[in-house]
């Protein structure tokens, strides 16, 4: 499978971040992981590196329910930011929500490639990587 440079992980659950980073690292498919505990920190990071193609993540994994700025807030801000970015980044929602309303809402947003319900197992992550390399988003 094709390797990628950076994944951006946005989730307020510290344990989930730690476990997911461990899983990703073990696959040896990703060089770097940028982790953020809320949408605002992630948006600020993307703004800062917006023109630096090398530092922009190749994939964003986004949680929905977070304090300060939740996943929906992030998507709204990202939509405004995207035209200024030097590349298009595929976003995967990764959430513990099983609310059909959340799934419906995210499907209506073009930026969102898929809606993934936790747990994030190794298998799930490999599926994301597979869909990413076959769809060739970069």
């Amino acid at each position: 499978m094709e390797k990628i440079n950076t994944i951006c992980l946005i989730d307020d659950d510290m344990i989930f971040r730690y476990l997911t980073q461990t899983i990703i690292t073990k696959t040896h498919l990703v060089k770097d992981i940028d982790a953020f505990s809320n949408g605002l920190d992630a948006i600020n990071f993307l703004k800062a590196v917006s023109v630096n193609d090398g530092k922009l993540p190749d994939i964003i994994l986004l949680d929905l329910f977070m304090p300060i700025m939740d996943g929906w807030g992030f998507l709204k801000e990202y939509e405004k930011l995207q035209p200024k970015l030097s590349k298009k980044i595929p976003i995967y929602i990764v959430t513990s929500s099983i609310d059909p309303a959340d799934i419906q809402k995210s499907k209506a947003i073009n930026l969102v490639i898929d809606f993934i319900v936790k747990p994030m197992t190794k298998e799930t992550f490999l599926q994301i990587m597979h869909s990413h390399t076959t769809n060739k988003f970069h």
Partner: protein, 378 residues
């Protein structure tokens, strides 16, 4: 009705004969003619029936004597107005009979040479139906409000299941897979340690959820007349160690309202939680002060708890402040814990809680305990 009466009166005027009002004898509506001194000149059978009397007991007698106290009624006022102004009136009014029955009438009052003539239809049944309908409508409105509240609570509950319980559960599934796949003993033992902290948190969240559900389901919770001051003092006594060690100044004022009808158990929990929070999140930069005050605003018995502590950034945390804490890190002080139960207890007693806060200035929690009933009772 007035027009009919007017036509009949004209007919009578045209053929003036002695018993000129006998044309009304068999009318379904009640008819009475009163002279300037309120003596009955004429009444028909229907009117006598309306008046719970007979024609013989009325004609020639004075209304004021037959119906003592009638001079203080709205009904009589209307009669008087027509008698004085000689202007016809149409009104809906009632009369309370000495035996306690209230009858409602639709009345047309017209001046005649003797005094006034009153044509009346009894509409008591209609009025009763109207009152019944109004009562039913009020009941319905209350029921809809209750259903709306329950729906909201159910949505809140579903959200808790989805986020507060499902999140740690998915972490456990993820951990379990990682433990099974790991060949490194040190890593395994690290995962098992994390697993324990997730299980502890899941357990705590679960217990909290059970406790809050019990509060909502508890139909037996009793209201009794209790003193805010007495129970605040009790809460302060329980928190005395924290107050002493933080050197906190506490002022309370229950002069506006002290005696309330509330659950003793809940009031104590609420006060201990909120005052306890104010103590816990005091600012080390200044002498901690807590001000507790009760008052009545728009009929609501309310209590403010104001501190000069660390404050909370409500822009960032406002929505989550009273929710079950949803992040699952290993903080010893999970601050969402107390506020969620506090809010549940306040809502179970028919009240609400809100907060205002400025970071590094302090916080103000306002509890609306309950709304006083309109008769002024607590």
């Amino acid at each position: 009705m007035g027009k009919v009466l007017h036509n009949i009166i004209n007919t009578i005027k045209e053929n003036s004969y002695t018993s000129k009002y006998s044309v009304f004898d068999n009318l379904i509506e009640g008819v009475q003619v009163l002279d300037q001194d309120w003596n009955y000149v004429y009444v028909n059978d229907s009117l006598a029936r309306h008046g719970l009397s007979t024609r013989e007991a009325m004609i020639g007698y004075c209304m004021l004597e037959n119906y003592p106290g009638i001079e203080h009624t709205d009904l009589f006022n209307s009669f008087q107005t027509c008698m004085d102004t000689r202007i016809p009136l149409e009104i809906i009014s009632h009369y309370d009979f000495p035996d306690g029955t209230r009858k409602w009438f639709e009345l047309s009052i017209q001046p005649v040479s003797e005094g006034i003539i009153v044509l009346s239809s009894e509409i008591t049944k209609l009025k009763k139906a109207e009152a019944k309908l109004k009562k039913k409508l009020t009941e319905r409105t209350l029921m809809i409000a209750q259903i709306t509240k329950q729906k909201q609570q159910l949505e809140e509950f579903c959200q808790i299941i989805s986020h507060n319980l499902r999140s740690p559960l998915t972490n456990l599934i993820q951990l379990n897979e990682m433990i099974q796949e790991s060949n490194d003993n040190a890593e395994k033992s690290n995962f098992i340690n994390i697993q324990k902290s997730v299980i502890d948190l899941l357990h705590k969240t679960f217990e909290e959820l059970v406790a809050s559900t019990q509060v909502r389901m508890d139909q037996t919770i009793k209201r009794s007349k209790i003193s805010l001051e007495k129970h605040t003092k009790k809460a302060l006594k329980i928190l005395s160690e924290e107050i002493r060690s933080t050197n906190t100044e506490i002022v309370f004022d229950f002069s506006e309202i002290n005696k309330i009808e509330y659950s003793k158990k809940y009031l104590e929990n609420i006060l201990i939680n909120l005052i306890g929070n104010a103590l816990k999140y005091h600012s080390p930069e200044r002498t901690p002060k807590i001000h507790i005050k009760s008052y009545i605003k728009k009929g609501w018995i309310s209590v403010d708890i104001i501190d000069n502590g660390l404050g909370i950034d409500l822009k960032k945390n406002g929505e989550d402040l009273f929710k079950l804490h949803k992040t699952f890190h290993n903080h010893a002080q999970a601050k969402g814990f107390g506020l969620f139960i506090t809010k549940t207890q306040i809502e179970a007693m028919g009240g609400s809680i809100s907060a205002e806060s400025t970071p590094n200035k302090g916080s103000k929690f306002t509890i609306k305990l309950y709304k006083m009933t309109s008769d002024g009772k607590n």
